[in-house]
C-alpha cells in the first residue's frame, strides 16, 4: 500500500495542485457556484447526494461493462475471421474502418428509434465505439507472428487450425490487452453519449438534467465519478493482463 502510494505520488501531487488552485481561484474571484463550483462544494455534493449518485453510477457501470464485453466478443471474433481468411479480411475490414468515421452522436439517436429506450441502445453505443481498437490490435497481434515460428509449425507437421490455436491466439493476447485498455477508456464516453440522447437514469442522464437546473456541482460530481470508473477499470484490465499474460512484460523488455 505504501509502495503503491509512493509509486503514484506524482499523480496525487498533480491532483492536489489542480484542486488547490481551483479552490483558490473560485474563492478569490468569487465565481458563482452555477458557473464553476469549488472543489469543496463538489465534495460536499458527492457526500450529501451519495445514494442518488450511487444509483446512477451503477446504471452507467452496467452499460459500460456489458457494452465492453459485447465489444470484446465481437472484436475477437472479427479479428479471428479476418486473420483466418483473406476474403473475409477484404470484405470486412473497409467496413470496420468506415464504421468509425460515422459520428456516434448521429447513430445513437437512430438506435433509440430502432430498438427503443432502455439498456440495449446504450450497450450498443458502447460496443460500437470500443470494438474498433480491439479488432485492430488483435489483428495486428495475430499477424505479428515470426515467420520462422510459422516455419517451425509447418516442419512439425502443424495444420492451419493448430497454428491458429497454439500460436496466433496466445501471441495476440498482449496486443488484445493493449486494445482493451483503449476500449475501456472510450467505452465510458460511449455510455455517457448513449444516455445523453435518451435515458432516464445514469451519470450521463444526471449531467444533462443537472446543467439546465444550474446544479453544476452535480455535473462535476458525475465527471469525477466517471473518471474514477475509467481509471479503475483501466487498472483492473492491467491487473488481468498481469495474471493472464505473464510473459507480456518480459517480451517487451
Amino acid at each position: 500500500m505504501i509502495n503503491w502510494l509512493v509509486k503514484w505520488s506524482p499523480a496525487f501531487g498533480i491532483v492536489c495542485l489542480i484542486v488547490g488552485a481551483w479552490q483558490l481561484l473560485v474563492k478569490i474571484q468569487e465565481i458563482p457556484r452555477w458557473l464553476l463550483p469549488s472543489p469543496s462544494s463538489v465534495a460536499t455534493t458527492i457526500y450529501s447526494d451519495h445514494s442518488m449518485l450511487m444509483r446512477h453510477t451503477l446504471v452507467t457501470l452496467e452499460e459500460i461493462i456489458l457494452g465492453f464485453f459485447l465489444a470484446l466478443a465481437a472484436g475477437v471474433i472479427l479479428a479471428s475471421a479476418i486473420c483466418l481468411s483473406q476474403t473475409i479480411e477484404k470484405a470486412l475490414y473497409p467496413f470496420i474502418i468506415a464504421s468509425q468515421t460515422v459520428p456516434i452522436i448521429v447513430i445513437a439517436p437512430m438506435l433509440l428509434v430502432w430498438i427503443g429506450y432502455g439498456l440495449a441502445p446504450k450497450i450498443i453505443v458502447v460496443a460500437l465505439i470500443s470494438f474498433f481498437p480491439i479488432v485492430v490490435n488483435t489483428v495486428d497481434g495475430m499477424k505479428s507472428i515470426d515467420p520462422d515460428i510459422q516455419k517451425l509449425m509447418r516442419t512439425l507437421g502443424g495444420q492451419k487450425a493448430q497454428v491458429f490455436s497454439k500460436i496466433m491466439i496466445p501471441s495476440s493476447l498482449p496486443y488484445l490487452f493493449s486494445g482493451l485498455r483503449v476500449a475501456i477508456a472510450i467505452s465510458v464516453i460511449g455510455a455517457v453519449i448513449g444516455e445523453w440522447v435518451g435515458s432516464s437514469e445514469g451519470l450521463g442522464y444526471l449531467m444533462i438534467r443537472s446543467k439546465p437546473q444550474f446544479q453544476t456541482e452535480r455535473v462535476f460530481a458525475a465527471i469525477i465519478i466517471l473518471s474514477f470508473i475509467g481509471v479503475g477499470l483501466f487498472a483492473l484490465i492491467t491487473y488481468f493482463e498481469k495474471v493472464l499474460v505473464p510473459w507480456s512484460n518480459e517480451q517487451r523488455n
Binding site: 515460428i149 516455419k151 517451425l152 509447418r154 507437421g157 510473459w247
Partner: protein, 257 residues
C-alpha cells in the same frame, strides 16, 4: 520395420531460382549430396550460398525447380512433420514453460499431454534442463534455450535432423560447450544429421563428411571425409591432421571472394 537403405538421403542436381523484384536469382545450381543412415554431415559455405534454401527444400517447405531428392522414400508432401528442422533462433514460445515447449511437436501429432510429459521426462537430465522444466524461456540462458529447442526437435523422432547454425547465437565459450555436448549426445541417439554451419572447427568435430559450398549460385565445391572414428572427444582439435583439414577447408572458403 526399419528399411535397409544404403543412401538414407540422396540429393542430385538440385537447382533453384527465385525471383527478386522480377529478376531471376539463381540460388542453387546443381547440388549433389548423400547421407547414409546415422551419419552426420556438415554443409559449410559463405553467407548467401543458398544453405537455407537447401534446408527448406529438404524439410519440405520449398520445392526445387530441378533435381531429385530422396529422403528415405518420403515424397514432397509427407516430408513436413518427418524431417526435424532446428532453426538458428531457439523459437521457444514465450507463453509456454520449457516442458510445454518441448512437447509442441508431440502435441501437434496428437499425443496426449500426459503421454508427452512421460516421453520427455527422461531427457531433461541429459539435456541439462532438469529443475527448469516449469520455467519460462526468458529465465533460461542462451545455451539452455538452444538445448530445449533441440529436445523439441528430436523428441518427435524425425527421420533426419536438419540443424541450421544451431550455436551461432551463442558466445564462444557456450558454443564450444554445446558442441561437445552435442558430440556426446549424437553418439547416444544414432541419428542422421545434416548440420549447416560457418564454423569449420564445429563441422570437423561433429561430422563424418563435410560438403563445402561455393558462394551464390550454390554448388558443392569439395567433399571432405573426416577421418576420426567415433566416439570422439574434444582433444581431436589439437591433432595435427585436424589443423591440416581445417586449413584445407578454409582455403576453399577463402578462395570464394
Amino acid at each position: 520395420m526399419e528399411k535397409i537403405v544404403d543412401n538414407h538421403i540422396n540429393i542430385a542436381g538440385l537447382k533453384k531460382t527465385i525471383y527478386q523484384d522480377g529478376k531471376p536469382l539463381k540460388i542453387l545450381d546443381g547440388v549433389d549430396l548423400s547421407i547414409q543412415k546415422s551419419e552426420v554431415i556438415s554443409v559449410l559455405g559463405p553467407s548467401g550460398c543458398g544453405k537455407s534454401t537447401l534446408l527448406n527444400i529438404i524439410a519440405g517447405l520449398d520445392e526445387p525447380d530441378e533435381g531429385d531428392i530422396n529422403i528415405n522414400g518420403l515424397d514432397f508432401g509427407s516430408r513436413l512433420g518427418s524431417v526435424g528442422y532446428m532453426q538458428q533462433k531457439d523459437l521457444l514460445l514465450p507463453w509456454r514453460s520449457v516442458k510445454d515447449n518441448v512437447i509442441l511437436g508431440l502435441e501437434i501429432k496428437g499425443v496426449s499431454k500426459r503421454q508427452s510429459y512421460e516421453m520427455v521426462e527422461p531427457h531433461f537430465q541429459s539435456f541439462g534442463l532438469s529443475g527448469f522444466e516449469s520455467n519460462y524461456p526468458h529465465t533460461l540462458s542462451g545455451g539452455m534455450k538452444q538445448r530445449a529447442s533441440f529436445l523439441r526437435t528430436v523428441i518427435t523422432e524425425p527421420d533426419i535432423l536438419l540443424l541450421d547454425e544451431p550455436f551461432s547465437a551463442l558466445d564462444a565459450l557456450n558454443r564450444s560447450r554445446l558442441q561437445i555436448w552435442l558430440l556426446d549426445l549424437l553418439e547416444g541417439i544414432q541419428r542422421t544429421v545434416l548440420l549447416v554451419t560457418h564454423d569449420v572447427d564445429e563441422a570437423i568435430m561433429l561430422s563424418d563428411r563435410i560438403y563445402v559450398m561455393t558462394s551464390r549460385p550454390g554448388r558443392i565445391n569439395s567433399v571432405e571425409e573426416v577421418p576420426y572414428p567415433r566416439p570422439r572427444n574434444r582433444e581431436i582439435v589439437n591433432d595435427s591432421s585436424f589443423v591440416g583439414l581445417k586449413s584445407k577447408i578454409l582455403s576453399f572458403l577463402w578462395d570464394q571472394d
